[in-house]
Amino acid sequence: RLFFRHKADFPSLRMLLTIRKQLRSHPALIPLFFFIGGGTTMSLLYLARLGLRNPDVSWDRKNNPEPWNKLSPNYQYKFFTVNMDYSKLKKDRPDF
């Protein structure tokens, strides 16, 4: 009894069990969790994409100091294109 705690004693599990019990009597909360959770997830995912894929961001100053210099004109760095197919563009400028 000194070293083994009951599964239901952990605070995070307690919180989840309480939420589940309350959801059974208040099912209107389910859409709330869905939209807030979905919105938060999408925002965090986009932040992560910005941090990792944005050419303005350099995490490793020694090996990758200026990632914005590594873009080719065909590279699509935006999340979404409506009308443009960047891979079809001609590359008509000199290499460095």
Binding site: H26, P27, A28, I30, P31, L32, F35, K78, F79, F80, T81, V82, N83, M84, L89
Partner: protein, 230 residues
């Protein structure tokens, strides 16, 4: 340009501005519907003699008034993000023009083929000829070929300015030491007016922008003439 006491947008002269117009109509319609509903509910609540002291909760209506606003917001967000990404696309411009803001005039440089550059000062009110627009006309207009994608690189020489042409749906800040890029296509020939959109000193209201879209032959004649005059 805007006509007197105009409330809405100017007529669109570029496809991006058309998209913005339609999105604005779509969103404003949603806003009107919601406001009408809310106003009706307020009037109904205020003018009723009925009272009910015993309702504690209702799961069904809570689900409805969570799902419906979320759905409406998604219906607004999806077109909005689409236009946002559409505005950032630069698709193979035929012409690149540099628009430099100064205190208190714009200067345009067409340096793709030859070195063409000129300043664009506002025409003072006392020098206007009949039919010209007060505080909007300039001595030299930025002439571009119609229906050709044009790229404008905006910067400034001294303080912050902003290059804006509402009927093309363009506003781009002119920051000293920085190049900002914007691109557009004019769908029809015409003359399109705009004004400096960042406070820049005493004559901030008196440095307008005039874009004139003409057929390609006229543009070539104009640029030859301007090169000779320079």
């Amino acid at each position: 340009m805007a006509h007197p006491s105009q409330l809405g947008f100017q007529d669109a002269a570029s496809p991006v501005m058309e998209e913005l117009l339609h999105f604005h109509d779509h969103t404003l319609m949603i806003v009107f519907l919601i406001s009408t509903l809310v106003l009706y509910i307020i009037v109904a609540m205020v003018t009723t003699k009925l009272t009910n002291k015993f309702i504690l909760d209702s799961q069904e209506i809570e689900i409805i008034w969570t799902l419906l606003p979320a759905l409406i917001l998604i219906l607004i967000a999806l077109p909005s993000l689409r236009i946002l990404y559409l505005m950032d696309e630069i698709n193979d411009p035929h012409l690149t023009i540099k628009a430099m803001g100064h205190q208190w005039y714009w200067s345009y440089e067409y340096t793709d083929y030859e070195d063409l550059g000129f300043d664009s000062y506002m025409i003072p009110t006392q020098d206007l000829t009949p039919g010209q627009f007060r505080l909007l006309e300039t001595d030299h207009r930025m002439v571009i070929p119609v229906e050709s994608p044009v790229r404008v690189l905006v910067s400034a020489d001294d303080v912050l300015h902003s290059w804006a042409v509402p009927s093309l749906g363009i506003k781009m800040d002119a920051v000293p030491g920085r190049l900002n890029q914007t691109a557009f296509i004019t769908s029809r020939p015409g003359v399109f007016y705009g004004q400096c959109s960042e406070i820049c000193g005493a004559n901030h209201s008196f440095m307008p922008i005039v874009v004139e879209a003409v057929p390609l032959e006229h543009f070539e004649n104009w640029s030859s003439l301007m090169l000779e005059d320079a």
